[in-house]
Symmetry: D3
Subunit: 125 residues, 6 copies
């Protein structure tokens, strides 16, 4: 059962960025042998892989939350790429950045813009 939770978490992560599970799992396990189960099991198996909201919309929500909190730039970079990998268009990311300016202020939006431009540059046209 825990094995199923761990597998479900890594399967979701693969959808966010192809090849990420091995890297992220190794990074977490190197910290503590329970980390993948506890952290990713909660985030991706218990919550993000639930039906009810499609994965593309969930990534839009995640990008908006990370950009408005402004405290995890590395995670924002990852989810900008994940958003594009799950079908969020460049124009939709532009709109999210403007909406961040309204609800979290212009500096938060400027940081999100920088992150978005990195994801745009790495994505195939």
């Amino acid at each position: 059962m825990p094995a199923g939770r761990r597998a479900a978490a890594l399967a979701l992560l693969e959808r966010l960025e192809a090849g990420a599970p091995d890297r992220v799992d190794a990074n977490l396990t190197d910290f503590d042998s329970d980390a993948t189960e506890i952290i990713l099991g909660f985030a991706f198996a218990d919550v993000v892989s639930r039906p009810g909201i499609d994965l593309k919309t969930r990534e839009m929500l995640t990008v908006a939350m990370l950009a408005s909190m402004g405290t995890a730039p590395g995670q924002l970079d990852f989810h900008m790429r994940a958003a594009m990998n799950t079908g969020v268009s460049r124009q939709e990311i532009v709109e999210i950045v403007y909406q961040v300016a309204v609800y979290a202020g212009v500096p938060a939006a400027m940081n999100a813009m920088t992150s978005a431009k990195k994801a745009f540059a790495e994505a195939p046209e």
Copy 2:
């Protein structure tokens, strides 16, 4: 032209909560005669009424941002209702609350849950 921006902002606000424009406009104008133009003009005319993301999805984003920042409980209450008014379902709000727990922590999700339950109680079945 400014008149158009002001009108566009209030029209968007009416879609978020029927009857809100008069109340909000009076509240802002009582503070300063330029407040509706500057604050709502930016938020609702310049940004939220743009095409590119539908209003329902925008309200999902707004709820997620306000819940994860955790600094504007009154605005969160308003946008929980506005989310339902623009077509967000109870189950979708439940999913957003769980996603807030992942990205902003359990206390932020508990606050969002309290706000959501107030909106559920006020909404027609």
Copy 3:
């Protein structure tokens, strides 16, 4: 197995505040039937009931985190009481409040002081 996780979470909650499990479980289940499992299962079964740090010290950490973030005053009130219920002394709470002033600023400490005084007033001498 999920039943065990739910039971473990509620058992931990009982240690934080006698009688809280029924009230909190009802509040969460009224929101969504999965909420106790997802939210409390993660918080209390997966994490806070782990050995490695005793519960008293964990409550000191929780009070410090909630006070420094400053975004969940209701949860801070609960954990001030829970801290005292798990053996944190009034003097230790005073020290945490001063340390919050250093790391999160005087206003965060003033809010924590207000919350602490409510817990002091409710606690038996």
Copy 4:
């Protein structure tokens, strides 16, 4: 020497709001006998009473900081009044609220507006 620090802190507080020192000192001392010295000594004797920036401008800075962080509404209410008591005009407060919208977002500005309106209502014309 500590007595001087405590006295300097309370003298500054009297300038922020006439009559506040007794109330605030009692509130702090009821929490811990060292609280006035540690908290107010640092805030008001060590820092805010320094020359280099006049008190009116310092209160403008404090209002802007508290409004943009958004985590201490009670302190924001106090410093809105203190700002007016030290010479900040209504129009200057209006300008600060707009600037908060730019740097911390519209919800932070709306909260600041509510706080400002309370201070305006209590102040003599």
Copy 5:
């Protein structure tokens, strides 16, 4: 009329840092053709260029807000320089950093100090 708003925004930006408008405008336009209008139009034309508070005091407020929120270090670096460009003295910046320690905590002040020292090093004596 939009052209006037855009021009007003860039004129204000030139006062903050000579030569910045071309660089910032290119950066924003590369993201989206509306970005300069929406983001800078709001920030600099609608708000910061308003009379009622002089530009030097506005930059003091901006530095205090960015330092206390702590989520936009790049923008803080920019506005430390802009503060000096609009007449804020080194001693006034020192005072702001101390006041940040009071209202947002010592780590926020230490980050602001690092940013201030970079601006001091780049400024002509």
Copy 6:
């Protein structure tokens, strides 16, 4: 008496990281001649060196606060090392990181994990 406060602050800092006082004092004094007294005097002489909570537990609290606020990554790196220097074990740091995930969200915990791994790598086995 001020000399005593300064000395007490630097003595506490030496316990957090051997050799840090000279470096930190020089960094602060280069900014302003009063900075060590005002900033470190408050943080380390007035608060952290108080009895009532042992230094090891205080560093656990500091790590938890900095990780949950997420706005001072450099200070978090320092206090991860200081925690280990004052007797916090690797397993205890692992537990704090998991508890940060509960109260401040997974991204805050991931940032804390990165910081912890740097401290682990630098510490003698």
